[in-house]
Symmetry: C2
Subunit: 458 residues, 2 copies
Amino acid sequence: MSVTKPSLPKGTRDFTPQEMVKRNYIFDTIKTVFRKYGYAEIQTPSMENLQTLTGKYGDEGDKLIFKVLNSGSYFQKVPLHFLEYKQENAVTPLISEKALRYDLTVPFARYVVMHQNEIAFPFKRFQVQPVWRADRPQKGRYREFYQCDADVVGSPSLLNEAEFVLIYQEALSNLGLKDFTIKINNRKILSGIAEIIGKPELIVDMTVAIDKLDKIGLDGVSKELLERGFTETDIEKLKPVILLQGSNTEKLTSLKTVLKSSAVGLKGIEEIETVFNYILNLKSQISNLELDITLARGLNYYTGCIFEVKTNEVAMGSIGGGGRYDDLTGMFGLKDLTGVGISFGADRIYDVLEELNLFPAETVQGTKVLISNFDEKAELYALSVLQELRTAGIATELYPTSAKLKKQMSYADAKNIPYVILIGDDEMSSGLLTLKNMQSGEQQKLNIVDILEKLKAA
Amino acid sequence: MSVTKPSLPKGTRDFTPQEMVKRNYIFDTIKTVFRKYGYAEIQTPSMENLQTLTGKYGDEGDKLIFKVLNSGSYFQKVPLHFLEYKQENAVTPLISEKALRYDLTVPFARYVVMHQNEIAFPFKRFQVQPVWRADRPQKGRYREFYQCDADVVGSPSLLNEAEFVLIYQEALSNLGLKDFTIKINNRKILSGIAEIIGKPELIVDMTVAIDKLDKIGLDGVSKELLERGFTETDIEKLKPVILLQGSNTEKLTSLKTVLKSSAVGLKGIEEIETVFNYILNLKSQISNLELDITLARGLNYYTGCIFEVKTNEVAMGSIGGGGRYDDLTGMFGLKDLTGVGISFGADRIYDVLEELNLFPAETVQGTKVLISNFDEKAELYALSVLQELRTAGIATELYPTSAKLKKQMSYADAKNIPYVILIGDDEMSSGLLTLKNMQSGEQQKLNIVDILEKLKAA
């Protein structure tokens, strides 16, 4: 076996024990809230048939799907001229029938269609699994990353939308975030606006442009609208809508006037009002919920409400988003099933919590006590102490060989172990063991019963 | 977008909510024990560089590695004649630089080498992640399955081996298994036996043959030994060793006599005795720990103790195994680091618990209460009840639209929701809500305070 200098594929990461504790904290906190709202976990395979994924993410997306090479003599059925002319586009589907999951939504749609006879609709599922994209890696963008999604299919009720707002509110608060904004919009309001201007066919161009208001300002948006086929007159009509100010109620009142002649626009307003009412009756006003009619997010996908969450404490893109999509499962032949879902951006939330120093100091998952090991006699004595602590459910290690004190202390430090029990000759003869608090440096001589009591309480 | 009939790649599986609850139960139980013994979790990427994996699993293993196709114009650098002659062996490394992880051990070795400067040795890590193998799928064998490993590197102490026996004991008992055997052997004992017979070079042939004693009996083993280059005289010498009977102590006593002239053999016996002594001092005798000198398990890998666990309650292959391997990280250029580890066969354990009906009846992870929804007025009333229950931490759902009682009850049944709160006109006027126990069918009229109390206790 030759020696290989070890390296990782571009855009992928190892997670160390310290990172895993933090990641588990984020995922566990979010999962607990999902469960409280009646969502149940599923998992799907990492590999899907290539045809399940192809054509679902646009041409650019298709290129970013990682394809898995067939096993064995994979060239056998490939016509020779495809190879001679190096025609990858023709060859790929012949030498690769499987691919790595690109998101959790398409596999979920596939799951619903394949399991439709055993599912009790409405089906509320959550899923936390990695996805893979052959994107160019850059800061904060990886080729393997986790998605953290909750969706419900088969229920048109806007109670679901309201509950998703509460789920964001509760999960992010539980993670310690204090200042974040949950933005909401409705595709039907955007359709209504395009209709009023008399350019319903340009709805995608319109939303792509006004979605950039934050970045390029009103002048930039106007310029882009002109380039995309709108007139100065159209833009004059659009301006009051784009620059809509005030409370959610004030915005809705203005919009009702603007959109009074658009049935679809009024329907969108009604949906938003219903969501707000549900929230009001569930919890009272949520002060950080903001109607933002410039919010679009992959518009050709969503058909009703659209969500996005931003933190105001750190400069960072959105940390969550989602919306309602009618006919999610149509691509797999199951018609008229409406869905609505949200996603948490776990990697970004990780960076936010890190920057704000919000991870709990207690790494409760790690070892709580290290027992020292100075010689054979002390080791033998330590074995029974070790067993007593573990029987009490306390995560404990005995340093596995006799070693110098300094080495053992460094080990405890490196692993963030909060307590060390020192066992030397004095301790063995008196039965009073030295318990050292690694944070404060304080040492106490205690018998095993008192140590157990102290550590269980700590 | 054309309609695709959905299907799954061969050998892969979806996990439904019911299955996920059970799988999480197994993984959580095992992880809790790993943590209690001081093991910390890490994760590695699903994809590794192909050269990291190639040559580590033998020629057969290499064929079973799933290779990931390079993105873009992947044929560009491939010499044309490789393609014209369809030489897959030459083409594969040129069109695929990444591959899916085949096990957790090689990625772990790669991790240790890459992170050696930040690791506090001995490094005790556990890892629970999927692996992929392009094996022919069959009952109980999948192309994607989870491995569940704990290993320690950088510690030659046999305390680690003893603790792994306790980890098996504790985790499997916590999962409800009552009758299982933890088998232990030592590669050095096998070396000693081959040495005594005077055929040290045939140790692999010898162990492959005697490993089959269970399946083909003594006659079969003898026949195979003859075929593999042993003489009748050799086999006569081997017989008493193969057929070793009695308690562990009796076996060790016999072995000491047989192996008295083999230094390595005696070293193996000493190691086993040390492990037994550690266990004795930690916990007292473990009655289901059995020295089995026919146990080999991938011998060219292990260098010291070898473990295997079998359940005696169900006909099933081993549900766990492992051992010590010196020089694990040598393949990546880091010499002289010894490791020892074990693995739990989670899929097989799942099947065993299913067959023995050992999964806890309480699906604590699911929704606990469904609130009925009969009309708009009742829904409005229900919203505040919903919020009160959730605030108390109780996983609750409101049926999201008004519907017939039967439909809502079917939903609760299908999701295994143990309680339903019925809210009709009577309930709204009296404030006494009907709480129905879905298991017993019993109904009670209670105010919200009593309901909260009852559900928190349930």
